[in-house]
């Protein structure tokens, strides 16, 4: 608990720093963002109107204070293109993206961990080989190539799964999630398998595992209750470290599979120069990384009692 509290305290300056950086980034846009948004046929009057609407005519410190006061009330301003509050847009987009990130993690764990276990128990077997090659391919094939391939095979060639959208009823939601999750999670499958393998191998060499065996426990009890519990900690670390990447992958997968979500929102906002929305997506993605890393820390202490001390 204390460790967790310390982590929480550590996170505060990092998060605040990141939020300050987002504020700064949105204000170093070369030239006038208002003019850039309105394009070439803007009148000075319309530029001035937009500047005051954006609050750009106020002094910088005032904008800075407003930004943080707004954040504290979950108010991120209004979208310029859609005229809706940014928080509403983010709220709508967050669901599908979180689902997809979860789906991607699930794919990498459900496929990667068993593969890693088999690879560790039967070194040099097909599973070992598949884990190694999978790890190499996972980090070498970009999300969109893998996504386009899946789309072509399971959606266009054999129309088994939907090629676009996020689905309306629960069944459709799951069906629409399968291919994007595979595309997003793939890069991590081999990585998780390899980490599981090497971590399990080092754990299996410990005395307590030998003791468990000597007690006459079957392989299932030895691996499942004793070895795996410690062996999975590095896997958690990798997943935690990669959450931001997974989110990036989800953004790309959303483009390939025409899914609604943060990626779609961000790209639309970028092409419309809708700065409040861009800012909102970045803020959410930073909070996403920070909060989920904290969650991984909580999981650590659930898996490893030593961490709790």
């Amino acid at each position: 608990m204390r460790r967790l509290f310390e982590r929480l305290v550590q996170l505060v300056p990092t998060t605040v720093g990141a939020l300050v950086l987002v504020f700064a980034l949105m204000r170093i846009v070369p030239g006038d963002p208002a003019a850039a948004m309105l394009g070439t046929n803007a009148t000075p009057q319309s530029v001035a109107d937009l500047r005051s609407q954006l609050g750009l005519d106020r002094p910088l410190y005032q904008q800075f204070v407003d930004y943080f006061l707004g954040l504290a009330q979950l108010d991120l301003g209004r979208s310029l293109a859609l005229r809706t509050p940014v928080s509403t847009l983010l709220w709508q987009a967050l669901g599908p993206t979180l689902l997809l990130t979860l789906g991607g993690t699930l794919v990498s764990v459900v496929v990667g961990v068993p593969l890693g276990i088999v690879a560790a128990l039967r070194r040099g077997s097909w599973a070992d080989y598949v884990a190694s090659v999978g790890a190499l391919l996972g980090i070498s094939i970009p999300v969109f190539v893998w996504g386009v391939l899946l789309l072509l095979t399971f959606s266009l060639q054999w129309p088994l799964l939907p090629s676009a959208g996020a689905g309306a009823d629960p069944l459709e939601v799951v069906r629409a999630l399968i291919l994007p999750s595979l595309a997003t999670g793939f890069f991590q499958v081999g990585l998780v398998a390899r980490i599981t393998r090497s971590s399990l191998l080092s754990v299996l060499a410990h005395d307590y595992v030998r003791t468990a065996r000597a007690k006459g426990l079957g392989p299932q009890a030895v691996i499942g209750n004793h070895a795996l519990r410690n062996g999975l900690i590095p896997v958690l670390t990798v997943i935690g470290l990669n959450l931001g990447t997974l989110l990036g992958g989800a953004v790309v997968a959303e483009t390939v599979f025409t899914r609604p979500g943060l990626g779609r929102l961000m790209l639309d906002a970028i092409s419309a120069r809708d700065y409040p929305v861009i800012q909102g997506v970045v803020v959410v993605s930073v909070l996403f990384v920070v909060v989920l890393n904290l969650l991984v820390d909580v999981l650590y202490s659930a898996v490893d009692p030593r961490v709790r001390a």
Partner: protein, 315 residues
Amino acid sequence: MTVGDAVDVPLPARVAAPVRPAADSFSLHGRVSRTVLRKPLILASALFIVAAVGSAVVVPTLPLGDPTEQSVVRRLKPPSAENVLGTDRLGRDILSRVMWGTRISLTVGIGVVAISALFGTLVGLLSGYFSGALADVLMRVVDILLAFPPLILAMVMVTVLGSSLQTVVVAISIGVVPRFARVARAAILAIREREYVLGARALGASTARIMLRHVLLNAIDPLIVLCTLLVPAAILTEALLSFLGLGITEPTPTWGNMINNGRLVLREAPWLTFFPSAAIVLTVIAFNLLGDAIRDALDPNTKDFAAPMRATGGA
């Protein structure tokens, strides 16, 4: 994977090893060439990279068509004698576009690594060697940058800075520098308290000399490995940006924007997507295999410390 196996030195080499001059067997070059070039897959990767770099350099002199020349009558032609890899929706020659795309990808890969190595090593060295306010501030900045998902950060940077080859390199580097700095700092911290460093200090060597000659030079192996593994990661990130329509945009050919283009006619004209995809995948695999091999050669005992980082840079 063959790369991960114990180094399989053929018998004659084993016999010959002890008589080799010491300088060769311990030098970077000696260690790398002995382990790297003995394996066919690694050799193939190395040759592929040499060929890719070579063609990226000479592509303007090759007898290829103009990669941006459009032709209404030759739209979406499948591979033929005239257009070896076919043409795209605007009738542009795909072979020529893939070759010119190599240039962009390799420039980004090398550029990002050069910038990240320079600033990452500097930050790692300063924050690892000195302890105090400077180190704290530097590591705090690193932590802040690490809170951003790398791809999202690059997307924002490209939006803010505008899209060109240079801005894309800078935009990707901003996410890579803190990750490089982390590894550099860890390597420096491990060396800082070694006896020979204390010895050099006792002998009155200057701080700059100790930092560069005694600390950095001995911490350089993991950084070299990191560099080789970050090249493919940077290439992938650039491809992702181009694919999303950010970064380097049409008409300049990049592998990412070619795939984005081909995606719309995936069933009718799969060659639009296939060839640039193959180019990315083969190049990245070649760099990853070579990077793994260099890692094994420099230190067979290291764990894959770069694994999460590679993925982090890559997507």
